[in-house]
Symmetry: C2
Subunit: 333 residues, 2 copies
């Protein structure tokens, strides 16, 4: 295992410490328990937005804390859910008096711990709504999941719900728009090579030479099938087709197309996948109105990518375009 780390057990804390130093103008890192808030804390009179999950998917979630997106993020150990005792103070710190929306990727541990935290929050007087993200069309149930997994589509939920909260929408409205994104976003990924969890010290799965896994999870959970390496154009179609079929896209619709890197894939390769996905959408009469290409929901140094499509309407597009100022996503301000 070759990694730029000190102690495998200190990876999350030391990385967060560096993150806090690098982005001290935008965020604040809290210790014992660990969570990250927007610099300056809760915005009074604004719905709070909190997300979290296992570490190892950076910049998800702490990289999306800031104006127009999350108020707080709660990182667990690598690929491990954060605990209710972290989620509770993060939620309280995010509450500006109108309540808080929890954006939770659909993994059993995350769901359970956010649920427990939400009950604790309620007993402390914070109105919490939970939005489950389950955009991954690869498998119906999986190693850590009842129902579909939440993957890169989470970034779009956080951005759009964050914009709705920022422009002063009510708790009901922010919850509703977040759920509308979930209903209209689908993803699927693949891996060329696995990643190694630092404290495990060995790759999370094995792939033979020339073999890849279609439908991989962001923790290396099994996908749909293993196949031999194929040209990027074929792979782009293998990812896009199930996504499109699931959402039942029709000619004339407008979408956001995201090609997300898993952490170890060159940007140039992501653009090659984007190229084919955009061509396929165009061939079907679907109009790509917005794009995002890069490492937004990673799996440490895993090599691979995912394709995400979000069905847009005027409101979602306008919320997507709204200013955002976070360490990992920033425009308009």
């Amino acid at each position: 295992m070759k990694k730029l780390i000190n102690d495998p057990r200190a990876v999350v804390d030391e990385s967060l410490e560096g993150f806090g130093l690098a982005h001290a103008d935008l965020v604040e890192v809290h210790w014992d328990p660990v969570y990250v808030t927007r610099r300056g804390g809760a915005v009074q009179g604004k719905v709070g937005l909190v997300s979290g999950g296992g570490s190892g998917h950076e910049p998800l979630h702490a990289g999306y804390v800031g104006q127009g997106m999350l108020d707080a993020a709660v990182p667990g150990a690598v690929f491990t859910s954060p605990t209710p005792d972290q989620i509770l103070p993060a939620t309280q710190a995010a509450d500006g008096g109108l309540g808080v929306v929890h954006i939770v990727k659909n993994y059993t541990g995350d769901v359970l711990n956010f649920e427990t935290a939400a009950e604790l929050c309620a007993s402390e007087g914070v109105d919490v709504r939970t939005v489950l993200v389950n955009d991954d069309v690869a498998v119906e149930d999986s190693l850590y999941t009842a129902g579909r997994r939440g993957v890169a589509g989470t970034v779009l939920v956080e951005k759009i719900a964050g914009a709705a909260a920022e422009r002063g929408e009510s708790l009901d409205a922010v919850e509703a728009v977040a759920k509308r994104v979930v209903a209209n976003v689908r993803s699927m990924g693949l891996a060329l090579a696995p990643c190694t969890v630092p404290h495990a010290g060995k790759p999370s799965f094995e792939l033979a030479d020339g073999e890849i896994e279609i439908g991989i999870g962001i923790h290396g959970e099994p996908g749909r099938q293993r196949v031999g390496l194929e040209p990027a154009d074929v792979l782009a179609e293998r990812l896009l087709t199930p996504v499109m079929e699931d959402l039942g896209f029709e000619a004339g619709e407008e979408v956001l197309l995201m090609v997300n890197g898993m952490g170890g894939t060159p940007l140039s390769e992501l653009y090659i996948v984007y190229r084919r996905a955009a061509q396929l959408l165009s061939d079907r009469g679907v109009s790509v109105e917005r794009s995002l290409v890069g490492n937004y929901t990673t799996s440490l140094e895993m090599q691979g990518c995912s394709v995400t499509v979000l069905r847009l309407d005027d409101e979602l597009t306008s919320l997507w375009d709204a200013p955002v100022k976070t360490p990992a996503l920033r425009w308009g301000v």
Copy 2:
């Protein structure tokens, strides 16, 4: 070789095609010869800024085309200089009547081809100034270089000179501020694992298990030495110390600190390196006023990082903070 590509010979073109589709609001990709310009072309009455070099370092340089940064970028084949017949039309397309600054990383092929292109431009009536970037303190001469190599510091030159051009400075002034960044920026990198150039099909160098290379070049050129893998804190110091010594930093100075990923390194590891580099600077009484952490000058999927320090003053800081709107760097607009 496992890559998300189709034909190894089509990598640069197909990637650029995807890039152009994804960022059609910001850039325009031109073919035959290949170059990238800001959407809408040259801004009249503004000094033009052109950079370029071998592909494989994405988002460098095309990712930095846009408002407040480059007017045009000229990508060569992977790790291969662009040709004068590409650089000439790119420069003409960037000329808003005040002349053009070429920002050139110091590699023999790049220097020669940009020089030839500058002569052609002059005979076409375009006043071209050349700024050579040579921030890499690792080695004095190298495989492809007479004198120091240009590496990640190039991004800072492009951002700051771009801001000066955008606010209407003269050709002399833009050239001068670019040279001032070059005089005040130093970098050094390391590799944990090599990358594979698609048309070569095998890794550009070999590292034994547990062995890393200090002072690596962004094309995998030899650095200073190979050592066993050490903790990230030790490695951060190995990179930062020569950078600091070379620039002769003193207590009380203000700097920008950049930790750049080589393409295959998780963001979390870059923050661990950033943490230690920031601590070391703080220990020496140097104040980190601005930061940049991520994949900004890569070497395909190479695993490793570089540390860059730029000595700031009020003017450079204000130019750094100025709005920028490019595919890979964006704020304030």
